[in-house]
């Protein structure tokens, strides 16, 4: 197909796709599947669901490609779809107390399985370096996943999706200031949870 410059913006790719260039869509998928997947995974804590929803996000992009306007940012659009699908899932899970979303994941989940091994409050004292990094990572994932829903989504949209606060406000349907204060609460909460590990994490770098 037509050569696409590697640095073509998402919006350019989307317009090319609208006009029938499927390679542009492939590029969009390559760019965004990973952060989108991670966003959904941390929201729902469920790998299979995360995979399905990531696929669903792209399918909705395909189905609504007609309505896409160049002025709209692709990221904002895609994450709004992903976020809404996640909200639906979380709501459903609340209704029927879906076991997989309610409880920690099974032994297959890295975060939970490893988080169980984490209780040592003084990791610096005895953790061997590699194991410490894994613990740290598990601890962090657990801390993020247990943030209240409204804080977690803002945190993920900011840190994973790299959206601006204005865009986050758009995606989540709240005022920009609300998005910011949720972000601040999230950071402060994480800080308390990760305080013990802060020094260690710095040592790792």
């Amino acid at each position: 197909m037509v050569a696409i410059p590697g640095d073509a913006s998402d919006e350019t790719l989307m317009v090319r796709y609208q006009r029938g260039d499927r390679d542009a869509f492939t590029l969009l998928v390559r760019r965004h599947q990973r952060p989108l997947y991670n966003f959904v995974l941390r929201q729902l804590r469920h790998q299979t669901l995360a995979e399905e929803i990531t696929q669903e996000v792209f399918l909705r992009v395909v189905q609504s490609a007609n309505e896409y306007k160049h002025e709209a940012r692709f990221c904002t659009w895609a994450y709004a779809i992903a976020r809404n699908l996640c909200v639906d899932q979380l709501r459903k899970a609340q209704h029927r107390r879906h076991p997989s979303l309610d409880q920690p994941l099974g032994p297959g989940d890295d975060a939970r399985a490893l988080a169980d091994v984490v209780p040592d409050p003084t990791p610096l004292a005895n953790a061997e370096r590699g194991a410490g990094a894994t613990q740290m990572r598990a601890m962090l994932i657990q801390a993020v996943e247990t943030l209240p829903d409204d804080q977690r989504e803002v945190y993920l949209l900011r840190e994973l999706a790299n959206l601006s606060f204005k865009e986050i406000a758009e995606v989540t349907g709240v005022a920009e200031n609300t998005a910011k204060s949720r972000m601040r609460y999230a950071l402060e909460r994480l800080r308390t949870r990760l305080a013990d590990y802060e020094e260690y994490a710095r040592a790792l770098r």
């Binding site: 037509v2 499927r22 869509f25 792209f58 950071l187 802060e198 994490a201």
Partner: protein
Amino acid sequence: MDCERFDRIVLDFLYDELDELTAAAARRHVEQCARCRGIVAGLRATREVGALPLVDPPEGLELRILEAERQVRDRLPMRQRAGRAVSVLAGYAMRPQLAMAALLLLAIGSGLVFFRQRPNDRDTVSVTERGVAESDPEQISVLPRLDSEAPASPTPRPSLAAAPSPLAKELASATRNGMAVAPAATAAPAEARDGEDSVYQAALAAYHAGRYREARQQFESVVAQGGGDAARAAYYAALSAKAGEGCGSAATLFDQVSQHYPGTGAGYDATWEAAGCYSTLGDTERARRSYQALLDEASYGARATAALAQLDRADGPTPASAPVPVAARKSAASAPAAAAPAKPAAAAGGAVKAEPEPSKSKAGPARQ
């Protein structure tokens, strides 16, 4: 700047979202104020520690997405594909943000009106052309299926359900990657083929603007240059012929594309279009041959089968062709290549080229 004001903008400061002046004021304040310095340092440290490691999506997700895309798009009714072109034009007229549904309705429903309102748009005929394609029974039968699927919240799709559990792999790769994860391989290396690319783009623009003859000439020049776009351009040239002049001259062009680019997406797309054209022209024999050539192709197989069944119903039951036996399919698959006459297409192409074209080429009005 005082502490109260700083508190209000501290997050914008943290994420570099302040304008330059405010950012400078904030920096000055932080230098002087131990309290705010502490706050910023704390938040920044948490941000650093809290940088989430990205895990790789399960292997094969990309392929599954692309395959699903192909299926959805191939199933998009002709009406919607036409709507796609219309929406590009209608984008100008309908800046104020309407509800999505309204836009879609307008794009589809009033597509005809929009085309007609454009003074230099010569081919209101093309809309009629598309109308012919719409009557393709398969397209219509597909519509409700698509609609019922669209709003359904993510239930496991067959392709997904069939996939082996990626859990173990994901865990393995996640652990392997540790904290630092290499960024996903993104863009394919960009080749500097700007000239060719711009011709192709101009051709696409002309096509979407409804200047089919111009589009066809430009697509043909891309084909003549060869390269990666040739197959797709050839397909589009034939599509332009269909839109501009109708199936009569386009059918054989589609056949040529299938012959020249067998096994490619463009080739299959062309075979499908050829079948539709022959069917429209009442040449069920050729239509049938083209559909049969698609029976073994992943994304077209099911639709080709349905189209064949439809042809059979229209023809009355002919025992030979109802359920096509595999052996017959195999032999039929190679048939159209040999059977399709190349001469009429060449003649049609020549005829078009002979006609002088007002040279207002290059990028047409269809731009965003």
